[in-house]
Amino acid sequence: MLKNRGITFKLISLLLTGSMLIFALIFKYNYELTKKIILKNAEDNAKHIAAIAVNKIEGVLNIVERINQHTAFYMESVPQTKEKLHVRLRNVIENNREIYGAAISFEPHTIDKELKYFAPYYFRSADTLKYRALGGENDNYFNQDWYAIPMALGQPVWSEPYFDPDAQIIESTYSVPFRDNTTGGRFIGVVSADVDLSWLHETVASVKMFKTGYAFLISKNGTILTHPNKELIMNESIFSIAETMSDKNLRAIGKAMIRSETGFKQIKGFGTTGKSEKLWLFYMPLKSEGWTLGLIVPNDELLSDIITLHEKVIALVAAGMLFLSIFIASISASITRPLRRLAAATKDIARGSFDDCKLSHPKTKDEIGELTSSFIYMKSALREYIRELTETTRAKEQIESELKIAHDIQMSFLQKLFPPFPERTEFDLFAAILPAKEVGGDFYDFFFIDETHLCFLIADVSGKGVPASLFMAMTMTLLKAHTAAGLSPNEILFNVNAKLAKDNSVSMFVTIFYGILDIETGDVVFASGGHNPPLLYRKDTSELIPLECGGIVVGIMEEDIVFDKGLITMQNGDFIVMYTDGVTEAINDLEQEFTEERLGRLITENHDKPISELVLQIIEDVKHFSGTQPQFDDITLMILQYNSKKIQEL
């Protein structure tokens, strides 16, 4: 389960991370691009709005400029009297509501040689026109900016706006110098008009961008002339605000503003509270006054569309990612669910419970579907196989059990009680058989034909298993049946061969060594049907003599079979070692055979041991020699020792 979850988790996290990354890059690019476009649009929009306001303000102020320039021209071109000046000033104010007050101020001793100061000044006061003569020891207008600056510069000038404590209003004065053309253009005075700037508040306040965007106006020196926050007006300048906020960038913008530049810049606040906020400032000059209109737009509002858009995009992407997660989860589930089922099925199958394991045929033809199909096929194949195996095993077990019985029966044919004839001291006889796993075909037998003749034989049926076993039983029976007094071993073998070969459709055969001992003389008559020659140990000479005798295997050839007859006489203590090829052809781990030489050596070295011990020792040696190699053939040994002495002693 964990592993399956792991696949889903990995898929989701990898795919989501990948798509998030791609999205983030696209989003960032899109954001920057959109922002650029929005800022460009906002700048164009601000420029448009500001231009309207600037034109409106300049439209009003230009009227004042033209009137004053006209008055100055009038002063220069028409000979003046004091009375004419009064009339002119009154007309100017009465006909131009923009003008709060107007003066024509003269240099000392110009229009009137007697007067140091001559400056008639008319101004509005509660809907009436009032007059005041400017100048006096405490009112030296020659030092005033509105007089001194145009005089020094020789050109019309808008003064820095100032607070008029008498009128309680903020004014700016437009002053135009005029000259006496009769005396070569000598400067003789200034025509000035005071403009009440109160209306600027409304005009500038009407300029708005977005929700809380606002406009403000600064003078040539950067002084705030209008601003929604009245506290700032005439008190602060853009530079003092920059200083309060420690904002070098704002100061640089302020300098650009008073240089009459146009721009659109980001600032980090505009006020004296030190509050930091992201704002955008557009500025545009009022060229003839040297003032600058500023338009402030909060970044949030400016970018609110893009922010809203991107919030929506993010929401959509989040939804998309969720959908993608679900999608991936379902895909991964479609992969992992059959896998999980397969895993469970594997466990069931491993337990062998095929019926618990329910795998439905896949609906898809993909790899998982193929795997499932294969698995289902494997399951049914396995089931069939196991069923067959079970049956086979049962059959095999039955056969094995029958074989076991057959084997037991076979073994029961062989005499296992030694010494077999305890009352007979003339000879010792000991035999042992170490059967191979399967039922083999080795056997031995011994019995008295008459009082003095002991028949002994060892045989090895070709092949293994039941046929060999049956063949052995038949051979054994035939051998016993054909053994009769007076018949020599070769005649017996001849007869048995004839019988066996006659009905031998399976071409089985048997090798037989057949001997008859005359226990009185020690003579041994023998014949061999293709069997390994037994070894005769002569005690006197310590010789080991193979008892070879002509003859072929028994049971195959039906006719013209001649078995030779061998004869030896055993002396006291001599013994014959009979064996089957299971002894000499035993294989060791190096695939070497045990060999007759080895057997001979073993016999010679241990000739003085009792024959039972010798038999067991040979068998042990063969087993030891074979090591881990399985025993393929029966190992059968039989030793017959002749003890004539014992008879003499008796």
């Binding site: 030092n143 001194a148 820095e160 602060e236």
Partner: protein, 319 residues
């Protein structure tokens, strides 16, 4: 006339109902941080603590301190040392009871890009000087370097300079210099001729009282001086609060103000009040400073006699 003054003086120095002595003071200009110590002392009750119920009369062009002092409207006045010496030389019986600004910060400012890097370069240029006593130092500077310039009268603003109508403008470091900077000219764009650095250091604002009033109640005079100095020390220790207080009085007087400028002014004024960082010397007028200043007046032909230092200076803070 003298009798009338004495009568006025005794009328002024009466005990109020609160048990405080009533007194009035006029600074030589409109409320600003140049006079922070007095407004702070008033606002923080320091004068009251010293037994004075002080009234600060708003000075300025329409209320010249010297005139208000002369006519007895104000018991105490803040005046320029240069002006006071002249006044005493001309027979006015006023005495210095504390020299508050012990150094000058007056200067001439030019634009660096006008190429005026040394005094001689001012020859033939338009230089604006304030009228009256405020031009004395400027004139002394021009004389020192034997400069022939086109003098232009300077108003209270620096607009003549800002508009380019003059090449050099008179300025106080604590005031006009900063106004120029906050009108858009960076300090790096300005070339400054500091009168102090050019050997023309004349102490500026001092506290004055008439001889008669001092004789009538020297304890009150010294209490006024002590309270004022305490006010200054409080202002230096609490510059933000001091600026708030000053701006309150500025607002009351309908004077444009901004914190940045007043903070600057207070910090620069501090350098003039305690140029040596020794607060024990606040208010002291040294004879050397007096003689140098008076001698300059005589050289400039503005006065014929130099009043005796001992008769002119009756400082409450003695060294």
């Amino acid at each position: 006339m003298i009798t009338a003054l004495v009568v006025l003086a005794s009328a002024a120095l009466v005990y109020g109902e609160t048990g405080l002595k009533q007194a009035s003071f006029v600074p030589q200009w409109l409320p600003q941080a140049q006079f922070a110590g007095y407004y702070v002392a008033l606002d923080k009750g320091i004068y009251k603590k010293r037994g004075i119920d002080l009234k600060i009369i708003t000075g300025g062009p329409e209320n010249p301190a010297a005139a208000l002092h002369d006519n007895g409207t104000a018991d105490f006045a803040s005046m320029w040392l240069l002006s006071a010496i002249q006044a005493r030389a001309n027979g006015k019986k006023l005495v210095n009871i504390a020299q508050i600004l012990r150094r000058t910060s007056q200067m001439l400012i030019t634009r660096k890009n006008s190429g005026i890097g040394e005094p001689q370069a001012l020859n033939g240029k338009k230089v604006s000087l304030w009228a009256g006593d405020y031009s004395i130092q400027g004139m002394a500077f021009l004389n020192k370097y034997d400069l022939k310039v086109q003098l232009v009268n300077q108003s209270e603003t620096v607009n003549l300079f800002m508009s380019g109508a003059v090449d050099a403008v008179s300025a106080m470091l604590y005031n006009e210099y900063h106004t120029i900077v906050n009108s858009g000219l960076d300090p790096e764009e300005l070339a400054v001729f500091s009168f102090y650095e050019h050997g023309l250091d004349f102490p500026e604002d001092g506290l004055y009282v008439s001889e008669d009033k001092l004789a009538a109640d020297s304890a009150l005079c010294c209490a006024f001086v002590q309270a004022s100095i305490e006010g200054w020390l409080y202002a230096f220790a609490h510059p933000d609060e001091a600026v708030e207080i000053v701006m309150k009085y500025m607002k009351m007087a309908h004077i444009p103000s901004n914190k940045a400028h007043q903070k600057w002014m207070l910090s620069k004024i501090r350098d003039l009040i305690i140029p040596d960082n020794n607060t024990a010397k606040i208010g002291i007028l040294t004879q050397a400073d007096y003689q140098r200043t008076a001698a300059m007046l005589k050289v400039g032909g503005l006065t014929e006699t130099i009043p005796q230092f001992d008769s002119f200076y009756k400082g409450c803070v003695k060294k």
